[in-house]
Symmetry: C2
């Protein structure tokens, strides 16, 4: 492979190619520390033409390519798989905002622009870019699109897929597909951008995207409510949605156990009140003609009246709002600091949420009574993180031998209820057993047919998304 | 092919197979009367299993399949192409509403259910299904998904693609893909439903779908405003969007010429006032906390004040609202009755709309000064119908020899501005020349690769969407 590295040196500046094992580490290891396999080298192109050239050279030398954005993924999709002979293609240096069209409400950016930079560019122009998630300061647009990331505002605005109007993609043979359109409607043949969105870099490498912008939010009303159970939370969600429609932009569920974890890691050191479970919600107004504060008050008053909620606080200041949101954001940190957790990311139809929570509680009580459950997430999307924590005083390592069994059992419960075993995090490497266990032969066959059609040599992010076909060894 | 017909008789009841040439006519001819090629027969399955069996028999006998819904398409996508040896597979008899989940806000229906039946089922349950278009009483869900239909409310709710949560699809070999999920989030591999949505039946036959429902609209405010030009219309649109955000559910442009055409075919016989051009707009509230009437008044008052609008009427009753909407809906009828029109369905980035309109006006004035232009459509989507009418007193037939040239010229202007030559109607047969003229080799290559991967024998709706490859004769 020294030939390939020499050839890459010919097309990239010195700083654009990393071969030193120590410098490579940051690109080889995912941030959760679950995967760490050596790459041949790390290429850092600055232009789409360079991406194309790199891929052509890799094709000539029989090397595979792992596209990488901010490396904040949770499933090992953006780091090398153990197959070896892979180069990491980092989009870090493709950071241009190519166009901001305020009449059309679109922004065109290169793949390496961070999610936060897009949010900030939109805000500076009096617009909203609505996708928001914990890693937004580091996560890059190319990766956010490739994983169809979700976050806390999917409820009203949709996930990343819903924001993508156009893409520029380098294909497996190095050809550039220019699909960088800024159109709200375009029915001219197959909608190719849908194929690359959420494909985790296995069908092509996204180098730029044109995204939708929204009018700025003009007013917000945020509340934390205490409810008896997830069933009560769901009832409150329904009332909020009926009252607020698309203005309901946030509706998160936090179990009592998850809140206890979070409370230790926020400045206040505690939740503002205690309850068996919580709903964190926010209504957002676009424009002046909408009294979201009044709407939120009305729903909460009715919920307190009929017993759906036992307690409720509406944030009275930006500071108080930040405090409420910090509770939700602190849960993963609390999990990490209190011994770690086996993370699950299931979704079910909304009507099945109580059944799903009960089923997992039963599973844990019956089979793993020493482990602790931490349930929280995007209630309005039917997407709950049902994370399993080690017994008190033990580390996550103690669960290693049971990890695969627990995960498969939780996933099975979701799938049996018509649900998904990976609602927003994707497949990468970590969820491949789930693909084998839960997907039909027909569905896997379709995915393999698409992969073969677009990447016949299996050069783009091999070992991700699609499990090896044990029948054919492909 | 008598063998195939005999075999089909073996799996369908007598009424489920039409071979009589007279009875076949309604399935062979599109409703605009542009295409009329004989089918071998018309099969009318009642179940997904029958669809699968039909496709398997067609595969055995080397016959191709044209899936057909309500046969309301505008581009000849749902009727046989001249290649012959095709059977029409009508989804007419698959009319079950399989499930209505009010907690999850989803409805699961078979492909033959009409769009209007879905709207009505939603309304009866206190919900909204937002896709709305002229042919909704006849158009069927399978076809509406297969064409990714748009209509007048795309602005706020998105096109049909945005409503699809899950699909059941019969593949080219007769296998059934059960992707009928009711999930708001599911990132488990390639999002296959995106592939079949908008593919016009060329990649698989949609037999059922799970669709999103929305909270019912609780209040509406509708207005007709007179503006000086499309630039003024765009300025008014911007003000409406800034004020109303997602509550802006309708924003249609009607040129003076299009309004003159429409006015003759509404009960009132005239527009309520005359202006060089018009904007028809509506704000919709979901829930009580939103004063859409006040918001609309505020925007229109400001527009009258600063001269963006010269006149504006807010509908004071449901009757008056219906009168306003009837003006927009009467345009196609006016065109038809006044000599017909060469229809175009372009879209451009919003900021390019004035340039596009000016360019087409110049084209017509310079090259076709005798023809008349009728411009109207979905302003907020950048999607205008720029239809060309024959000279006064002449019929459309008189334009036959210039039709292809005019269409290509209008399409070219849109594409040159980064636009689409078919924003919402699709490709079918009529827009195949546009695919050849405007699509890149890379993009056509990707589409051909997908078609080959999913339908290697070219059995599903051949002769549609993808132009023949002149290099390979494929």
């Amino acid at each position: 492979m020294t030939d390939l590295i020499a050839a890459l040196r010919g097309i990239l500046p010195e700083s654009g190619l990393i071969t030193d094992p120590v410098e490579r580490t940051a690109f080889e290891r995912d941030w959760r520390g679950l995967y760490n396999h050596p790459a041949l080298c790390v290429a850092l192109p600055q232009t789409t033409a360079q991406v194309s050239d790199i891929i052509k050279l890799c094709a000539q030398h029989g090397a595979a390519i792992v596209p990488q954005g901010g490396n904040t993924g949770l499933v090992g999709g953006g780091v090398p798989s153990p197959d070896g002979k892979q180069i990491v293609l980092s989009l870090n240096r493709m950071r241009q905002i190519r166009e901001l069209d305020l009449l059309g409400d679109t922004i065109t950016v290169e793949a390496g622009v961070t999610l936060q930079a897009v949010q900030e560019a939109a805000a500076a122009a009096g617009r909203l870019f609505p996708v928001s998630l914990g890693a937004e300061g580091t996560a890059q647009i190319g990766g956010v699109i490739s994983t169809n990331a979700g976050g806390v505002q999917v409820l009203s605005y949709g996930s990343m897929r819903a924001q993508v109007l156009g893409l520029e993609v380098v294909l497996a043979d190095g050809t550039v597909w220019d699909g960088l359109r800024a159109l709200r409607k375009d029915n001219t043949g197959f909608d190719l951008k849908q194929l690359f969105t959420g494909a985790e870099g296995t069908l092509g490498i996204i180098t730029a995207a044109c995204l939708k912008l929204y009018p700025a939010v003009t007013a917000r009303a945020t509340a934390l409510a205490g409810v008896a159970s997830v069933t009560g939370a769901l009832k409150l969600f329904q009332a909020l949605r009926a009252e607020a429609g698309p203005a309901l932009t946030l509706c998160e569920f936090i179990s009592g156990a998850a809140m206890d974890l979070a409370a230790g890691y926020v400045p206040a050191g505690r939740a503002p009140f205690t309850a068996p479970a919580y709903v964190l919600t926010e209504l957002s107004a676009h424009g002046a003609g909408q009294d979201v504060g009044g709407a939120l008050e009305a729903v909460l008053a009715a919920a307190l009246e009929d017993g759906t909620a036992a307690e409720a606080l509406i944030a009275q200041s930006g500071r108080e709002r930040a405090d409420f949101l910090a509770l939700r954001e602190a849960i993963p940190e609390g999990e990490l600091r209190e011994g770690g957790a086996i993370k699950h990311d299931i979704s079910v139809p909304l009507s099945k949420i109580p059944e799903m929570v009960a089923a997992v509680e039963t599973l844990m009580a019956d089979t793993y009574p020493d482990c602790r459950l931490s349930v929280f997430g995007h209630l309005g999307d039917g997407n709950l993180h049902m994370n399993v924590r080690p017994p008190v005083g033990q580390s996550l390592a103690g669960l290693t031998d049971r990890k695969a069994t627990i995960t498969l059992a939780v996933e099975r419960l979701a799938v049996a209820l018509g649900g998904s075993f990976s609602a927003e995090h994707g497949i990468g490497q970590i969820r491949l057993p789930g693909m084998t266990a839960h997907k039909s032969t027909v569905e896997l066959g379709l995915m393999r047919a698409l992969k073969l059609a677009l990447d016949p040599q299996n050069r783009l992010n091999p070992g991700k998304v699609i499990p090896k076909d044990t029948n054919t060894n492909a």
